[in-house]
Symmetry: C2
Subunit: 441 residues, 2 copies
Amino acid sequence: MRLSRFFLPILRDAPADAQIVSHRYMLRAGMVRQASAGIYSWLPLGLLVLKKIEQIVREEQDRAGAVEMLMPTIQSADLWRESGRYQDYGKEMLRIQDRHKREMLYGPTNEELITDIFRYSIQSYRDLPMNLYHIQWKFRDEIRPRFGVMRGREFYMKDAYSFALGYAAAVHAYNQMFVSYLRTFARMGLQAIPLRAETGPIGGNLSHEFIILAETGESAVYCHKDLLDLDISTTSVDYDGDLQSVVDYWTDLYAAADEKHDPDTCPVAPEDLVEAKGIEVGHIFYFGSKYSEPMGAVVSGPDGKEVPVEMGSYGIGVSRLVGGIIEASHDDDGIVWPEAVAPFDVGLINLKASDEACAVACESLYGKLLAAGRSCLYDDKDDSAGTKFARMDLIGLPWQLIVGPRRLRTGMVELKNRKTGERVEISPESALSRLIDQQIG
Amino acid sequence: MRLSRFFLPILRDAPADAQIVSHRYMLRAGMVRQASAGIYSWLPLGLLVLKKIEQIVREEQDRAGAVEMLMPTIQSADLWRESGRYQDYGKEMLRIQDRHKREMLYGPTNEELITDIFRYSIQSYRDLPMNLYHIQWKFRDEIRPRFGVMRGREFYMKDAYSFALGYAAAVHAYNQMFVSYLRTFARMGLQAIPLRAETGPIGGNLSHEFIILAETGESAVYCHKDLLDLDISTTSVDYDGDLQSVVDYWTDLYAAADEKHDPDTCPVAPEDLVEAKGIEVGHIFYFGSKYSEPMGAVVSGPDGKEVPVEMGSYGIGVSRLVGGIIEASHDDDGIVWPEAVAPFDVGLINLKASDEACAVACESLYGKLLAAGRSCLYDDKDDSAGTKFARMDLIGLPWQLIVGPRRLRTGMVELKNRKTGERVEISPESALSRLIDQQIG
């Protein structure tokens, strides 16, 4: 993408009400713009990151055997009356009357709607287990939206719903999501910690939150320090095999959310206990027949008798992760994207757009990067070098390829790693070879 | 995808209120399920088609130079008061009060919101022209939703918005979208007819509807019969070059919507006039400064003076197209997907799942198709041959690869073309070669 044809409205200063670094950088880097309180437009740079994260989430859901579908944003209140949650949900639910005075709502979650689809579609245990997910906008009418996309009102979420016959199969479905969540976050460069958690308004009796550590997080984390050193990426996973041992490995060490932590009974020695703040990026629930029973989602079992299915639900905050990743990866100059979620792999800077040699060299580099499947933002604009450097640092692409007239006369360009700050003088061919052959990104 | 792990709830009969063939087939084939009046859940098979169509739309928008972003579904009423449309829009607008009693709405279109983004981001003509698009759910509270996804209330739409300095540049942006629309629909196997149209509630003075012919369509079409033979796919397009000649070629022949057609002044001889019904799948508008002037979206021109930008907007009904394509391509047995939008390239039918030779042959074919980048729905279920054939015909994948025990003993399988009905007995190797090397899909 040529910057001259892109839409990247950089702000010099973030609004004063942007309190945390991810919110400030997302506004300054032209990733989002607030449309109204807690509701954001995703500008092109922000949307690219959102889509990268969405795609990683999708691939790991598919890998774990979940099947994608898409439920609508607007739901009928009737279903929520069946489950008994219509009144319980309180003012966070955005309630709507349509032109025929029917009571509708903007879905904050989808247990009722998916259970309705299930009960009309599946009658036999032979069609189980099943896990259906969708990635869709949700709305929760927060009384005080804050922290940009981290606690917005309209937010993008992956939610999966598993259906199984019996407790053991339901726990296997739960374990599949548990393990896939660790892998999902690891692919984004995040170390997520699973915490035993309360089930809250979703209900049920088994639940884990997935937290990434960040000083600006709103969740308290208490865990054994060794948990921070575990690495999921070295674990090979067979989702049809025994997952309990993997889950046990990750849950044997103490880790609890605020409401589950009691200093008096905590088994961890004080010197081994980490007390920190974190951001909740995922939450999984096993809740048995809490919805299937009142809503009549039953299957006939092997013995011909009807039994309610056992369900779980599994959420990932896709739009929140954009902010969460920035909280975890930035410096004083701006964002530092992990390669897997970067909006472009490479930022190509033409230091003097009016110089013909620079333009020719940049066009060649740009064409070759694209032809090799690398995404590239080519800064072809007529701005000062200082403006270009600051802008490219702010938006945080992993690699900067810098072409200036003086260095180019000696046949060289500069390659900068955004994370380490390391700069090397290098020939264009060697730069391409490093950016393409080494399979960055 | 193995059918045993997919979610494909086939219905024997469609509900009686499904009046048109696309609605009936989408329900029967397990593509969608109604959540409430005019609001649908997209089940896995339907979502695959929706995403294929969305991706074609995206690629052709990108090719024409538009830049993708994403605006939220919920908007503030304040912006619509600035443009004067808040009252005009009537009961089709879903109006919402949030917990703080602020007036909000579920966006039926986005002229106001994009103009708001523009006015805060762009100050100089040097940053023009610009065309921003998004693909997002919209809501129009139709008094009588009908025809399934063709006239739903919550629907998926691509809408683009162009900004230019002066009339000539604005018309060039309009022409870019005009030409890209023809290409977009052609890639889906559709012959779209551009009709001169009224501008309606969007406003402005230049507008074309894009219509595909279908007996069940709600739009009247009057056009010269030769227009039906024009072919966009043979036209190579330079979006930065002169597009007026391409647009002229497509608009020289008479073509008018109902409200623009007057039999008394129609220049086409009766024997050359086609009078037909069609489905509106796209609509483009040039409306100058209708929104930029009241909302203060101005840029400083080359002379330093501030002028309102000239705008256009351009919509494609992404979810409606799913129904529209079925209306245009089906037979008595079910849907006949054009290859470009088919949910899977190949349906692999194992006629006897319990037969070991069949299972081994199918696993091998399935693995090789996937490895070659072909998508495949593998019917590995334990159903009767009749059930399997009927189901595969209903869901309309372009190719069926049929493996049965008797034929397999002679080293052969069957390959069926869904559209022509042609079946050939063929070796598995030759079948793979036809499905892979010939670059179907």
